[in-house]
């Protein structure tokens, strides 16, 4: 007994054991159950029942493929918009000469995100509603006579997602621009490269790790978004996260919801793989 204790004390596995047990019970086991449930039939009240079937996966890629692709498309678009807005912003912040100005410009990006995600999303309902601030402003200017329908559209979801995840793009890019040595730009110019060429051949490749990390950090939570499409999307902006949520209500279908979340997890894992490979190629080159 004492021997066993001594041996384990040396290799440290006894320290890991409680946490590993916790994660096995509350993280791994639930995921295994979801996988099993996703392969079962729908019983009364939407609960899982034998026999095993692949029908829910078939439906995920058939009836619900529109929503699946919409989720992936919206997440991809969110990532692109965040990159277009976030990349120059990260550059702006890290090129402030005075330390204080840099701190303030960075802080101004982070501060709005100390507010709860729900409230930040709700703020867009005020702006985008039929009787909201944007419509009110445009109508008082006489630009439009009928309110534009902005809320409960895919556009609203896109705006909400970009708003929700923009700092996840800015911060990693900022970190890699910070490490970028601007003498390379002078060197490229001296060697006769113009601005576009310098950017594409020198600046962008050297800040690529930040860009890739930012894209992964924005894309992954966007695909699985639930709150944003729920508060801003309505029926037209339904995403896969809402579809999963709907399967757990009164007239739900638990096996279908499970299958959909396994599919979503597969999408996330696939995008992580893409990230890892892109990163490896980037740092390898």
């Amino acid at each position: 007994m004492t021997n066993w204790l001594k041996r384990n004390q040396k290799n440290g596995s006894f320290l890991a054991a409680p946490t590993v047990v916790w994660l096995l019970i509350f993280f791994v086991l639930p995921l295994v159950i979801v996988l099993v449930v996703s392969l079962m039939s729908r019983g009364r009240g939407g609960v899982a029942e034998l026999p095993f079937t692949l029908a829910h996966y078939a439906r995920s890629f058939d009836v619900f493929s529109i929503i699946l692709w919409r989720s992936i498309g919206l997440a991809a678009l969110t990532t692109v918009v965040c990159l277009i807005v976030g990349y120059p912003l990260a550059f702006f912040i890290s090129t402030r000469r005075r330390r204080r100005a840099q701190q303030i410009t960075l802080f101004l990006v982070i501060l709005p995100f100390w507010t709860n995600f729900l409230i930040r999303t709700y703020a867009w309902r005020i702006l985008l509603g039929d009787e909201g601030t944007i419509n009110g402003f445009l109508m008082s200017l006489g630009v439009i006579s009928e309110p534009l329908s902005l809320l409960n559209t895919q556009f609203a979801v896109l705006v909400g997602l970009v708003y929700g995840f923009l700092p996840f793009m800015v911060l990693p890019i900022f970190a890699s621009v910070e490490r970028f040595n601007f003498r390379y730009v002078d060197a490229a110019h001296d060697l006769g490269a113009n601005d576009v060429r310098t950017f594409l051949r020198v600046v962008l490749p050297l800040t690529m790790p930040g860009v890739l990390a930012g894209c992964a950090l924005v894309f992954i939570p966007s695909v699985g978004a639930f709150v944003t499409p729920d508060l801003l999307g309505g029926a037209k902006g339904l995403m896969i996260g809402n579809l999963i949520n709907n399967q757990f209500g009164g007239s739900g279908n638990m096996p279908l919801g499970s299958a959909l979340s396994i599919v979503m997890m597969a999408v996330v894992m696939l995008s992580l793989l893409v990230y890892v490979f892109a990163n490896r190629r980037d740092t390898g080159a």
């Binding site: 890991a16 639930p30 159950i33 101004l108 409230i119 709700y122 005020i126 009110g136």
Partner: protein, 297 residues
């Protein structure tokens, strides 16, 4: 002659690109900061608006804040300050317990990963990384199904029906917090000089003494940062709590979600403003504390 003409054209084009580029570099931050701040400022502004409309600002009033205190919410709908405060208390309770458990578990695994020599460490690395990247909704429904299955089995065996409540929320919060605590503490451990522990060992301290007298004081700032992060995540979490909470155990975000699903009302704007101010103060304090800890260490 021809050569120089081409060069001049190219130079002119480069000048235009440079001018466009620098204009873009100035316009982009203006747009970006406006985009980041306008929604929040407009939310705050309209919580003070005299009319119920959010289309235009007609005058300053505090009556919506007064309504909240008097339990009125929107078009004659009753609102209970009592229920909201209760939800806030629930949040604090869940956050405190979940933070305590996850800080201990997260610190232990961080130590094991940094100092231990055992098989399966790479696999464990992956296991610790997964809760961070997995979509919230997947984790939420997997826990919901898991608790349902467990409660069904308990009912079958003992005849006693269990219901979701604080225990399920806390278990869920601990699960997603462990990884974050472990990441923060591991970063701190990586900065620490392992020779200090060896020195303590050489001077005759047993592993227990070494840990409490040398290792723990040195990693304490990391442990505190990890705990503060866990507490913040716990207070802020909506999706996972939504799926694991039971009757009467709603946390503040779950309560607020119920309000936000309704139509836009100035009272909801007022509550949102109060919550925004509170969370900004809370995070500000915790960051200031972390800064002090970091500079002291």
């Amino acid at each position: 002659m021809r050569q120089s003409l081409i060069n001049e054209g190219a130079m002119e084009r480069n000048r235009v690109i440079r001018r466009l580029g620098s204009a873009g570099l100035w316009l982009n931050p203006i747009f970006a900061y406006f985009f980041l701040w306008a929604p929040i400022l407009i939310l705050v502004l309209f919580s003070f608006n005299e009319s119920r409309s959010v289309a235009s600002f007609t005058g300053f009033t505090l009556k919506w804040y007064n309504n909240i205190l008097n339990n009125v919410m929107g078009a004659e709908r009753a609102f209970s300050t009592e229920i909201m405060l209760n939800a806030f208390r629930n949040s604090l309770f869940v956050g405190t317990v979940a933070t305590a458990i996850s800080t201990v578990l997260g610190t232990m695994i961080a130590l094991a990963m940094a100092r231990g020599r055992f098989r399966g460490k790479r696999l464990l690395d992956g296991l610790l990384f997964l809760p961070v990247v997995i979509p919230e909704i997947t984790q939420a429904i997997s826990l919901a199904i898991f608790f349902k299955v467990v409660f069904d089995w308990v009912a079958l065996i003992s005849g006693e029906r269990m219901f979701p409540g604080f225990h399920t929320i806390i278990a869920a919060h601990v699960t997603f917090n462990i990884s974050y605590v472990a990441i923060v503490v591991r970063a701190r451990l990586a900065d620490m000089n392992p020779q200090l522990e060896e020195a303590a060992n050489d001077l005759g301290a047993n592993p227990w003494q070494t840990f409490w007298r040398v290792t723990f004081p040195l990693i304490l700032p990391g442990v505190i940062s990890g705990a503060l992060l866990a507490f913040t995540l716990s207070l802020d979490d909506f999706v996972i709590t939504f799926f694991t909470s039971g009757v009467g155990t709603s946390t503040l975000p779950v309560f607020v979600y119920g309000l936000l699903k309704l139509t836009v009302t100035p009272e909801v704007n007022a509550i949102s403003t109060i919550m925004m101010v509170l969370s900004t103060i809370l995070i500000g304090i915790s960051l200031a504390m972390q800064g002090r800890n970091a500079s002291r260490a």
